[in-house]
Symmetry: C2
Subunit: 318 residues, 2 copies
């Protein structure tokens, strides 16, 4: 369900590195070549390119891209060139160091924890330790705003069972527990944190359905009616990322381009982090929800190499 396209015959890492070297050497930079190469390679191919580039030219490809490119295009290309686990560790760290730790900043941590495989989350935690000399949960416990700590520590610490295993009795009983806590507006209740951070996603989806059947409203709607705080809004992101990551990311993209100006940070994050996972589904959901074409909207709100790069990740032929 990814959108990136690979050429029929993928050049060897050395060939790719030579082409990249040509693109960054001398006066000016050949951005088109960078897009043509990196925009059409998957994570393991990019890893080989990074390693080979380092060996061949004794410099870091990422550092070189950083010095050659600029603006939103640079941010997007570099995020894409990183190892996915390292990229997410960096995004989480940026969010925790942001001045304003609002839902918009912190939701990336929820996405990493709830809209990815348990294996990927583990890899992100390992990368975080290597990069920042402390654990991700340690930084959350000391830096996230108080009402969010418990939930975020729980979510990033989870290692969910990753196969479809649903127990309907558990769904019924846990839907009741959550309904009880939500009714009392106790959104940081241990029951909510345990259930959302330890159960497998299939079990949780069944529980959300059960909740709606037994108590009338979708669970995210009941959470919304508890208030407009950051815990309420982040909990809703948790529900969406578990229930349907593609809907969540369709909304992230929509919010980033609707209204005046563009939130390039969110737009880049959504497309770069999902291009190898579910951008095809996101495109479908986008059309279902907003009755308009995602690609057209992205083209309308971006320009130049940045636009070309995002569109390449979305599968366009540039």
């Amino acid at each position: 369900m990814a959108t990136i396209r690979m050429p029929d015959t993928v050049p060897s890492p050395s060939q790719d590195c030579e082409s990249l070297r040509k693109a960054v050497q001398g006066l000016g930079t050949d951005e088109k070549a960078i897009i043509r190469i990196l925009g059409h390679r998957n994570a393991s191919q990019r890893k080989k390119i990074r390693d080979t580039y380092q060996q061949l030219y004794n410099e870091s490809l990422i550092d070189r891209l950083h010095s050659e490119l600029s603006g939103d295009f640079r941010k997007a290309v570099i995020l894409w060139t990183y190892d996915p686990a390292e990229r997410d560790a960096k995004l989480a760290n940026e969010a925790l160091n942001a001045k304003n730790k609002t839902t918009n900043e912190l939701q990336v941590i929820v996405e990493i924890a709830c809209a990815n495989s348990p294996q990927h989350l583990l890899a992100v935690r390992q990368a975080y330790c290597s990069l920042f000399d402390c654990s991700l949960e340690e930084d959350i416990a000391s830096q996230a705003p108080l009402p969010l700590r418990k939930l975020l520590v729980g979510l990033v610490s989870s290692y969910r069972y990753d196969k479809e295993q649903v127990n309907m009795n558990i769904s019924i009983s846990e839907a009741s527990k959550l309904h009880e806590a939500i009714k009392r507006k106790q959104l940081d209740h241990d029951d909510i944190v345990y259930v959302l951070s330890t159960r497998n996603v299939y079990q949780l989806r069944a529980m959300f359905e059960c909740y709606q059947q037994n108590f009338g409203n979708p669970i995210d709607q009941d959470i919304k009616s508890c208030g407009n705080g950051v815990l309420e809004s982040l909990l809703r992101v948790v529900i969406w990322c578990i229930q349907s990551p593609e809907k969540h990311f369709a909304e992230v993209i929509r919010n980033s381009i609707s209204g005046l100006g563009t939130d390039e940070g969110s737009l880049t994050r959504a497309i770069v982090t999902r291009a190898e996972i579910d951008t095809m589904k996101i495109r479908g959901e986008y059309f279902n929800i907003y009755k308009t074409n995602l690609d057209g909207e992205v083209i309308g709100d971006t320009s130049g190499d940045y636009k070309d790069f995002l569109m390449t990740l979305l599968g366009a032929k540039i």
Copy 2:
């Protein structure tokens, strides 16, 4: 600091399997041969033996040992033959399914989470998912006694930074936070759980020292004065496993053999799980604390093949 001894020339896995096959085939079982082989092989060698045995004879070595051996000897040999992560996953599951979930039963979960490397804990969580079709933290959240849930879920979910990195300001401020919570007898306070389950062990050891300097008593003593409940006693196990696993296991062994009768379950667990880690240090601590020889005490309380096997793991020449 392990005590198991390997022969100068280790036979190939096939040779070991042939010898094991001879030991279990026909009338009677050659227990001495089983001890001589498995008792002198490390985890990766045992893994190769398990795999090779399965290939050569189309049966599981563990199953065969189960049908050939009996009693405490069987339990010890089988625990030792398992992959360490799988073994610990099984021990944790047994503890969660025990009728009486007292400190004696549940402390194995604390040992796994606090007296092992972060990598090993991850491997145990992965093994748990594979073996039991749900996550370890999921089972703890639904099966551990209520006052212990938060602490145990936090501890098993941790992925601590594993290098020595100590910030004295954090030690001072967190020692105060913990002192405050302990003074109020709020032993399940979020502060206690976050600190003990997210900080690296070097940071925590520095914090424990700081606690004693600033508030007069060792932290485990102040916790003890809060009461005699299961949370108090398990929290002390957490402190010991972080502060000095060898002291904790010296005490586990002491408790298992002192008084009338022997707690073979605990004795086996302590020796089998630590024989490749720190049994040498445990022996030293045992002498320091109890002024008597660990080996002599184990010999005095066990017999037959069970005794020979434990002594082999402790490095004796049988």
